[in-house]
């Protein structure tokens, strides 16, 4: 098997150009190694960009957040826990797998793997992230998260391309609070049965002026629940509002999930709403 361990972006582009159609880029490798050993993957070449310093960066400026493809879940959960508008990213990253997984797995790797149960899919959707895609000619193209996920394990990424970073617009969410929570089979080391991210902007009078809500592990791709968002706008964060939002979220889960999971997930979504909003209230106080 051919292999490339580029140390600059130029070398990465060259590796993408030379690697051929069946080359594969790996980040943490925590999913890919399993696929490889199960014989589900048979790459002609492996490309590991972990030695490119720029890809390890998490850059938070006044108007944007940029997460390099090799920044790990452990690093993200540390870096963003105290930033209210991005705390949902820390929640999700800190809940992925086990400490061993979080030391290597990356947000971008999770997105490119595109498992419907991936915790970072609803997160990317929540922040309307933009993916920076590099090709073999060294050209960087922006791809919106709404165009990226095509189905289970399928993305808009073409052979010979690699995602080098994702960006979130910080200006759009400055002053907002956020939270992410998931339901799994157990409290640690679990794969999401449903994941939910919420972003709220609450004005000085305690009224929600804007809201975003996304769900993962429900449909094949992450979904944004616009009906729930509209419900929240202009209302205080109280029990009556929460009940209405919970009903909409639960119905959305019912309508979008596979029939085999419907009974459980429709009900579980209610508890998940309670958990996410309890976390948001804690963050606001």
């Amino acid at each position: 098997m051919n292999w490339y361990t580029p140390v600059t972006m130029e070398e990465l582009a060259a590796a993408l150009a030379q690697g051929g159609e069946s080359s594969r880029v790996i980040a943490g490798g925590t999913d890919y190694t399993i696929h490889l050993r199960q014989g589900k993957a048979n790459p002609g070449a492996l490309i590991y960009p972990g030695r490119i310093p720029a890809l390890r960066e998490i850059m938070l400026t006044e108007d944007s957040l940029r997460i390099g493809a090799m920044a790990t879940m452990a690093e993200l959960s540390l870096a963003l826990a105290a930033v209210p508008e991005f705390a949902a990213i820390a929640d999700a990253a800190g809940g992925v797998g086990s400490p061993q997984i979080r030391s290597k797995a990356t947000l971008v790797g999770n997105l490119c793997n595109a498992s419907p149960a991936g915790d970072m899919l609803p997160i990317a959707k929540l922040y309307d992230m933009v993916l920076e895609v590099l090709d073999g000619n060294g050209r960087l193209t922006d791809v919106s998260v709404s165009d990226f996920f095509l189905g289970p394990g399928k993305t808009a990424l073409q052979p010979g391309q690699a995602v080098t970073a994702v960006r979130a617009n910080r200006t759009a969410v400055t002053g907002w609070v956020s939270a992410f929570h998931k339901i799994g089979f157990r409290s640690y080391v679990s794969i999401a049965r449903i994941g939910m991210g919420v972003l709220l902007h609450i004005d000085a009078a305690g009224v929600i002026s804007d809201a975003r809500l996304t769900l993962g592990a429900v449909a094949n791709v992450p979904i944004r629940v616009y009906a729930a968002e509209r419900l929240m706008q202009g209302k205080p964060l109280d029990r009556a509002m929460l009940e209405k939002v919970t009903a909409v979220v639960s119905r959305t889960v019912h309508d979008n999930c596979r029939p085999a999971n419907r009974l459980y997930k429709t009900e579980a979504a209610r508890g998940l709403c309670a958990d996410v909003f309890a976390q948001l209230e804690k963050r606001m106080s």
């Binding site: 590991y48 030695r51 400490p99």
Partner: protein
């Protein structure tokens, strides 16, 4: 490919296919058999080693990812014939039955104590949440980590 990395502070250079696992490099090429293969898919934690001080699965780490990295295995915690404070605490607290999970357990605990010298029970349980033990029920293991933390703090005074 030829990959150069550090194992227990010694530089090693190995010729290997890029998709070979760190687990196999350690056990087969370097004869460091303290690292165990349990599930081989990142669920059980028996193959835990430290990469630059962070816990990782040796079964999910490929040779292509290792250039320049520092790996610590259970063999690197103490000189041959001696026990590190953590190893001793696991023995004293009877935190071992079959022993298969122990080396991974101790390395996850080591990673915790490198960052947090005085962890409470929640922190210990979270740090060990990726290591599964079928024998002990974890109570003695948590006690052993607490004991090691205390002894390390006392030794530092």
């Amino acid at each position: 490919m030829i990959v150069s990395f550090y194992v227990n502070d010694r530089l090693v250079q190995l010729e290997t296919p890029p998709e070979r696992r760190l687990l196999d490099l350690l056990r087969e090429d370097l004869h460091l058999t303290g690292v165990k293969e349990g599930c081989g898919e990142g669920e059980c934690g028996a193959c835990t080693v430290l990469l630059n001080g962070e816990p990782i699965h040796a079964c999910l780490t490929l040779a292509i990812q290792l250039e320049g990295c520092h790996i610590t295995t259970i063999e690197g915690l103490s000189a041959p014939g001696e026990l590190d404070i953590l190893q001793n605490a696991f023995a004293e607290e009877l935190a071992i039955q079959c022993g298969f999970c122990t080396t991974g357990m101790i390395l996850s605990a080591k990673a915790l104590l490198l960052k947090q010298p005085d962890p409470d029970e929640t922190m210990i349980r979270e740090a060990l949440s990726g290591n599964i033990c079928r024998c002990s029920g974890y109570v003695q293991i948590v006690k052993a980590v607490k004991r090691a933390a205390r002894e390390l703090r006392e030794a530092a005074v």
